[in-house]
Every structure is written in C-alpha cells, then in structure tokens.
Amino acid sequence: MQRHYLLGNEAIAHACLESGIDFASGYPGTPSSEVIDVLRVQKDPAYYVEWSVNEKVALENALAAAWCGIRAICTMKHVGLNVAADPLMTSAYTGVTGGLVIMSADDPFAHSSQNEQDTRCYAHFARLPCLDPAGVQEAHDMIGTAFEISEEFRLPVLFRPTTRICHSKGDVELGDAVPSTRKGEFHKDPRQYVVIPAHTRLLHKKLNEKQPALKKRLVERGLNHSTIKGKTAIIASGIGASYVQELLPPDVSFMKIGAYPIDEDWLGEFAKKHEKILVIEELAPVVEEAVRQVAGCVPVFGKINGYAPYEGELSPAVVAAIMVKAGFLPKNPFAAMEPVQNLPMRPPILCAGCHHRAAFYAIKKVFKDAAIYPSDIGCYTLGIQLGVVDTTICMGASITVGSGITHSGEPRDVVSTIGDSTFLHTGIQGLMNAVYNGANMTLVILDNRITAMTGHQPNPNSGVTATGVETPPVSLDAICRACGATFVETVDPYDMTGILRVLEEAKKKKGVKVIIAKQMCVIAARRAGVKRGRYAVNPDLCTGCGTCVRFGCPAIEFADEKARINDLCSGCAVCARLCPVGAISREAKK
C-alpha cells in the first residue's frame, strides 16, 4: 500500500496498472487526456497503448481487443463519445469476452468544451452500465470494479468522471501494479460478432435480459448505497455527493449513487421511507428522473421543478443554496461574496511566437473582415480574439461548415482553419466532400506537427507513436491531393511574405484551395531545444505606431509611447517583419 498526492487522471491511470490492463487507446480531450499520457510513458509496458486518430477508431480498436478476451481501456472526453457513438451502441449488443472500460470524461461548466452533455445519457441509451465517481480515491477504486463488472456481464462499462475528478487532486491509496499477462485470442462466433438482422435481434434480447441482475449487482458491490437518518433525504451522485457530505445535517438521510442503471426496487424502498427528497447531480437529471419514477407521492426537489440548475457545475456554495431553497438547510453557511469589478480580463491567449497568430494575421490581411471564417477545435480557436474565427461546432466541422456556407448562395469568400490533429480526426472526409461537390473555398491547415491544446500528444503527423517509437509521418499534402484538391501549397507562416503571396494566389482561384501553414508548435520547439534568440525594439527607431502591438503577441508590451519586447519572446521574428520602420531586430548577444 502506498499513498500519493495525485491528479484524478493519474490515479485512474495507476488503477489501470493495478488492474493489469492489456490494451489502452484513446483520443486526447480535456479533461481525459492524462490517463493515456501516464500509461504511455511507463517504462517497458507489458500492455499495448496507442493514441488513435479519433474516438471511433479508438473504441473500435479497444472493442476488438476485448473481443479477444483481454482487458482494454479506451479514453475520451464526453463529446468524443459522440464520434464513438456508432460502435458504442452496437457494442452493447455484441458485448465483450474480455473486459472493456470506456472512460468518457464530462465537463460541467464547459471549462474546456463546446457543450455540457452527459455521458450517463449514453449509458441509458445504449443500456450499458456506467460508473460515476465522487472523488479521486473513488475514481481510482472504481476502475478495478468496472473491469470486474465488464467481465461478469460481458458488457463494455462506461466510466464517467468529470472535470472536478479528473483535474482534482487528493491523497490516494494505491495498490501494486500487476503486469499484463493475457494474450488476445479471437474465437470466431458470427452470431456474436456479425450483427446481421437475424443475429442482432437475438443480441438485443440478450442485452435486455442482462439488466435486472446488473442493477442488483451494482447495489451489492456497494456502488449505490444509503444511510437512513431521518424523514427527509438527499440523493446525490458524482462530485455533487462530495459537496453534499460537507453540508449534510445529521438528521437527513443520504443516498449516494455511483452506478447506473439504478435498481428501481431498492430506490423505491428508500424513497417511501421519507417525506421529501432532494436530488443533487451535475448535468442531466438522470438520478432525478429515476427517483421521480418510484417516489409515488413523496415530493422530489431537483432540476425538473426548478430547485437546481441544469447548466454549469455544482460547488459547495451552489449546493448550499439549493439545500436552503428546498428546505434542507435553515440558512446558507456561506455569505455571498462579489468579486472586484472592472478588472482587465486575462483570458487564455495564443503563446508568444505561436505560428497560428502569424497565419491568422496573414489570412485577415488578405481576406479582410468581409470573408467568413469557419474554424475548428484546438488552440487556434483562440483566433476568435483576432477576429478570424466565425464558427466552431465540433471536430472537423470547419471544412464542412465552409462548404455548406458556399453552397448556400452566400457570395463572400470562405476561409476555413483547422489544426493537423483535427484534420486527421474528422477533417479529411469534409475535404473530400468539398472537392467532390465543387465548393469554392480556401482551407488553411494550421500544421504544428502535434496535438497541442490537450498537452502535446503525438499524432500520425508527428512521426512518433504514443510510446515514442518512430513511425512514418503522414503527408498532409498527399492526403489533400488524394482528396482531389489541385491547389495545395505548404508555407512557413513565420515567412510573412511567402504566406501572404500564397493566400493572394488562393483568393484569385476557384475550387477548394488548401494551404498547409507548417511550423513546429512553439512549446514543443522549446522542449526540443530549438533556440532562435530574442528580438528587441530599438526605442530610437520606434515611432509608437502600434502595428506590432496590434499583432497581439504577449511578448510585446507598450509603455511611454514605445513598444517593448519582454522575455516571453521566442524569436519567431514575425513582429520584426511587420514593423514598418525596421525598429525590431534580433537582440545582440549579452
């Protein structure tokens, strides 16, 4: 036994090692990424681990591994589960012969996401079990349980931590790692693995028949439990259960839901012993709906009758306010505190020397405010601050939204931007479709050779695998040409003259024009030891015109009517190329 102060995701990854996993796959996405990131850097792992190109690919790989009788984990963020929904839904029918845990991390408050969807709804939809931890230790402990349940019921198990679990820390009691020992073996059984109508109808029936025993087992395993203390009760799940425990009056009963589906008989027994029930959970009213179905005439307080919010995340303060409103606390223990108003905001910003900024600057200069700029999911979504991101909806949609706009009759220029990882995730189909159907648009692939936003994971464009093994990098140029694009130009966005020329050329042409703006991510470059030397402003030459300041690089400041470059400078030299009077040059060596 050992105790460590760990991030939730680190504890989850360690639990995978303790479960002796044989296979791990995933696609990076906040807040899920660190699980594979920890697994992939273990020394000489006996298991297989990959970063897949997208979540559907990751899940199909892991499912197949689990069909071969081994233990597999597949990780993604909640919206990644949409991409993987196709195999997910039918994987419940085929089931597994080994153990398969699908971690889909939810993000209440959309700290780093495009929506606040709830993985538990997918579990209900697919009729798969779902485990829902309330803290870091429980998240760790649930992994072993999830594999056991998966193996017992021969079903994939969804595991749904949230941001406040994945990116929380705590002192965690760990067990010992167990080396992977199983070898996959595929036994042909078309009635299980070939879902033609005649087979799938029977498989659906089998899935439904598993449900009653599954519900009972989740209670027997202690994942759902309760303590009766009085005539009123709070039923809570996820991190909300932890907040409730901080505030729970001693005479209020408490039920903790940590797994779905919930056994209705067990839930009903608890409900009818109480005079009123409050349900506390994040995102969708999954527990609340289950409680309402069995509560009979016992009043239930929750989201559906306006006592708790549907949107955003819970906190002890929010939970206290709900408890007061529903009559479970006499008064709020927390005073309302207002932050100081009118301070300058400090939103996240593209790094000093980030080549996306240079590419966006050039795009804006050539296509001006008139053009429409569909964009995508990655660091470059921060281009919204530069006025070159008009749409983002989901991974890969910059290209399809672009082609849709051009076919709508909208006459203005359309310039889509997408990162290399996102292009490989779900962008290629959109490009193929745009060329095939004769769209007129420009696509700029912001190629920084890595999946940067989620923590610099390698992808097929990087030339290395998750474990650092060298692998031939894909050719974005060849992919685009194979999709039918004939105008495909690769440029260095730090070379302002070059990128402006190529963009001007693209603007004049019809059809789908692809520009690959290629340069290493500035953080990855620094870690790789690239040193370019800093730049400085000559105050005697600087006229204070503000051209470099408007470029928006955090290395450039402005005081006393002069620009100044601070020590964030990474030496990209773009500002030196923009300065109309040549006042910026490489700093003399000290």
């Binding site: 929380s168 907040y243 996240p348 910003i349 955090p554």
Partner: protein, 194 residues
C-alpha cells in the same frame, strides 16, 4: 470532522501554481494528513488567469467557497485582487508585488490599474507583499519565484517548514534543488522580518 485549512493559489498559466500545489500536497503526505485540491488544465492554461485550490485535512470536495479561504497566495498582483473575494475575514494574503499586464490591455488599449492602485485596494487585507523576482534572482534563478512566495507564506501554513522544504527538494527539477531550497528559505526569512 477536522475543519480543513483552505489555500487558494492564483496566478497566470505558466507561473508554477501546479508545482506549488504539488509541494503542499507532498508535505501533507509527509505528515500523514489528508489533502484535496483542484486546478486548471487544458487551454485555460495558455497565459490565462489560473486558480489552484488546496484543502489541507480536506475530506470531501476539492473546491474552496468564496469568502472562506484561510490563505490566498498570488503570483501576480492583479490576480490577487481578482480573487480577493475568496479570502475569509481575517485570512492571510501573500502576494507577489508585481504584475504582468494582460496582453488585451495593449492590443485594445483598455484601462488597467497601476501596481500602486492595486496595492491600495489590497491594503484592507493586510497583505504580505513580496518582490519575488528580486529575491528569486538573489537565490539564483528568477524561475524560483513560486518557491520564494511559498516560503513567504509558509509561516501561515499549518505544516512544518521542514516538510515543505523536503517537498520542495523532492519535486523541483534535480539541477535546481539548491536554488529552490535557497529560494524557499529566503522567502521564509523575508516574511518573518515583515
């Protein structure tokens, strides 16, 4: 249930709030104490305002409620003011006396308070203001500012200074152990003489 001692560490992505959290967590482990924490990951780290919650002896949730933090540690003067409503009445504030202006102040020419104006607004919290850059440079590297500030705050943290120093030495990069140990001691010495 033991009441937790709640520390909010704030700053700008990249300033080392996560390392500071790890040092506190490790020191708790050394003393066999429970600890909970929450931090900012992902895109929000890119030069944005970041907050790290640490609850020494924390049993349940990781989040600190506004108005209840026992200690606010800020690596940036402006961020101290932004998060000042988290501090409980009579709580302690340990703050780097300098600020980095957000880039938007330059690009959009938006108004920004001066350092002196911010300090005037913080006076009511009786803050310990520390020139972390200067002390870190004296210790041997301006990169050790976070450890300087942690050292300055160490008098207010219910953990032994020895535990904190051991945790510093364990968690900083091996080549920087000496500099960071010195940074911790200098930060600690600074706030004693305040």
């Amino acid at each position: 249930m033991t009441k937790s001692f709640d520390i909010l560490i704030v700053g700008i992505g990249g300033q080392g709030t996560i390392l500071a959290s790890n040092i506190l967590g490790e020191a708790c482990l050394l003393e066999g104490r429970h600890v909970k924490g929450a931090e900012t990951h992902g895109m929000a780290q890119r030069g944005g305002s970041v907050e790290t919650h640490i609850r020494i002896d924390g049993q349940y949730g990781p989040l600190i409620v506004p108005g209840t933090a026992d200690l606010l540690i800020s690596f940036d003067l402006l961020e101290a003011l932004r998060y000042s409503h988290f501090l409980k009445s009579g709580g302690t504030m340990v703050v780097n006396r300098h600020m980095v202006l957000p880039t938007s102040v330059f690009t959009q020419k938006s108004p920004a308070p001066t350092e002196d104006e911010i300090i005037a607004q913080l006076v009511r919290f009786n803050p310990c203001l520390i020139d972390a850059d200067k002390i870190a440079a004296e210790a041997g590297s301006s990169l050790s500012q976070n450890v300087v500030i942690l050292g300055a705050a160490s008098w207010s943290i219910p953990l032994k200074a020895d535990s904190l120093l051991t945790a510093v030495k364990k968690l900083v990069p091996p080549k920087t152990v000496e500099v960071n140990a010195k940074a911790f001691e200098m930060g600690r010495a600074f706030s004693r003489t305040r």
